[in-house]
């Protein structure tokens, strides 16, 4: 019961801040709502017994990715922001389209079934499953793990190469 109330709070805040994120005129305000959203998603993760992920969500998503956005948004502070149109000219169509998708997806989900829904109990693992996660990550998902490291390297190389000013430019 308490959990449900907490979930409800999280859900409402998540959706509200998501909507605010995409409707803000100033991207910095969007970032702020995004931050709020990430916090609450981390909350949802905690509800789902995924504390480790909640921390990762905050450290990486909020603490690194979003900060990066904030940096760049501030660096490129484009002052036309206040006068230019917010959305492209199709936005009412797109919003309608989105509503349609949402309705459809939710309808489909309501009609469909997930096997795990049928009476199984949520997982309880000692220590938030960090140990289990680690074992899975370094044994079964070793190759994806290595690939992920290469992805980060590529992101690093790419970002530096593209954005760094050079003498020749």
């Amino acid at each position: 019961m308490v959990n449900q109330v907490i979930f409800f709070y999280f859900a409402v805040v998540i959706l509200a801040s998501a909507i605010l994120t995409i409707t803000q005129k100033n991207p910095i305000h969007s970032v702020m709502f995004m931050l709020l959203l990430f916090f609450h998603i981390a909350g949802v993760f905690v509800l789902l017994n995924a504390e480790f992920l909640a921390a990762v969500q905050l450290i990486v998503y909020a603490g690194a990715i979003l900060i990066l956005y904030l940096f760049v948004v501030m660096l490129l502070n484009v002052d036309r922001e206040s006068t230019a149109a917010r959305a492209n000219r199709f936005w009412p169509w797109m919003a309608g389209f989105g509503a349609l998708i949402a309705a459809e997806v939710i309808l489909l989900i309501a009609r469909g079934t997930f096997p795990s829904e049928a009476g199984q109990q949520p997982m309880r693992l000692a220590g938030s499953g960090v140990k289990e996660l680690g074992e899975l990550l370094y044994q079964k998902y070793l190759v994806p793990f290595e690939v992920a490291s290469i992805i980060l390297l590529v992101g690093l190389v790419g970002a530096v190469m593209l954005a760094k000013k050079r003498a020749s430019d």
Partner: protein, 361 residues
């Protein structure tokens, strides 16, 4: 219908500890300022505040009242929303970290309580990660304050500070991971308990290095001397909080001291055995009567006092540094992080991992 028992449970497990913690923090934040002024003054052969109360003991109260009474000015061109929010973010994040930290083993306060209560608000299994998470989110407060002020000094200060905090977070994280590796747990209580035999600061060869790394990064994280570039008065006025005044200015101050407390607490917990008492050579000569007696005496001091003692030692250390060291240049600061601390921390982690694999740690 909420269960009454459940509600009570929440009051006792959340409400009271949070209230206690808040009181502790407020007192600390306020009086640490006085302590800083006093320490600095004495190191420089001055006396510091003397007028308000005995040896200026009431000075913090006076300052607080002044902060509260002053007009809260928001610059006209500032982004009001963000401007007002920024100090809160800093404060909340610092408080968030403190919520996770254990202040001692469960205790019944010398039999005062019917059963043992934990000395923490929440003992998360991945607690240390959350401390990292909150500290990384704290960056927002700084950068947003700098941006929202619509002042180039503030913006510069904000950017510098954010860049600095992000850069030093990485060696800090690696040194923390080294500790996690040594203790085998992400839970702060477990980390303390893993140091029963030997504090990690003396766990050669990686312990001291990790400790050094952590301390360096911690000082930089809190924007303290010698890494206080964001608020370098000579260049940037007061950095990101140049435009702040009144209670919001006070919040920044408070947040800074709270961050200091968090960093110091973590340093104590991770490297200096947390609430574990100092023991003189317990394994080799601990059975010799006088030494055993001293050890017993030391162990009689309540754990939380030990922790607080270590905490204040670190805080004193901060102030000592401030009195002693000049400020780095900004590019030096960044290169220290990326070129020295990061490789060093990576190397430490590797050595620790290798030793762990071999069973030497």
């Amino acid at each position: 219908m909420l269960d009454m028992n459940q509600l009570l449970h929440y009051v006792f497990t959340l409400g009271i500890p949070v209230a206690v913690l808040l009181a502790f923090i407020l007192a600390n934040a306020v009086y640490l300022q006085l302590m800083e002024r006093k320490v600095l003054a004495h190191m420089q052969g001055r006396l510091g505040p003397m007028r308000t109360g005995w040896h200026g003991l009431l000075q913090p109260i006076a300052d607080s009242v002044k902060f509260l009474m002053k007009e809260d000015i928001i610059p006209a061109k500032a982004d009001k929303w963000v401007f007002s929010l920024a100090p809160f973010i800093l404060l909340v994040m610092a408080f968030g970290s403190m919520v996770i930290i254990p202040y001692g083993p469960p205790t019944d306060f010398f039999g005062l309580l019917p059963k043992k209560v934990p000395l923490w608000v929440s003992n998360l299994n991945v607690g240390i990660l959350f401390v990292l998470a909150f500290s990384s989110v704290g960056t927002y407060g700084v950068i947003m304050a700098g941006w929202a002020s619509n002042n180039k000094y503030s913006l510069m200060g904000g950017f510098r500070s954010a860049a600095q905090m992000i850069s030093y977070e990485i060696p800090m994280a690696f040194s923390i991971i080294t500790v996690v590796l040594m203790s085998g747990s992400l839970n702060l209580s477990d980390i303390v308990n893993a140091q029963t035999d030997r504090w990690f600061v003396v766990a050669l060869p990686v312990g001291p290095v990790a400790f050094f790394l952590y301390l360096m990064s911690g000082i930089a994280e809190t924007n303290r001397v010698p890494f206080d570039l964001p608020e370098a008065e000579s260049e940037l006025v007061a950095g990101y909080f140049t435009e702040y005044s009144g209670i919001r200015f006070g919040m920044f101050y408070m947040a800074e001291y709270m961050n200091m407390i968090v960093v110091s607490l973590l340093a104590s917990i991770m490297f200096l055995g947390g609430w574990l008492p100092v023991q003189i050579l317990p394994h080799t000569l601990g059975h010799i009567a006088p030494i055993a007696f001293i050890n017993k005496l030391l162990a009689a001091i309540p754990p939380t006092i030990w922790l607080l003692g270590k905490l204040y030692f670190f805080i004193f250390f901060y102030m000592w540094l401030r009195a002693t060291l000049p400020r780095y240049r900004y590019d030096q600061l960044m290169s220290i992080s990326w070129k020295i601390l990061l490789p060093l921390s990576l190397g430490t982690l590797l050595v620790a991992a290798g030793m762990k694999q071999m069973g030497w740690l």
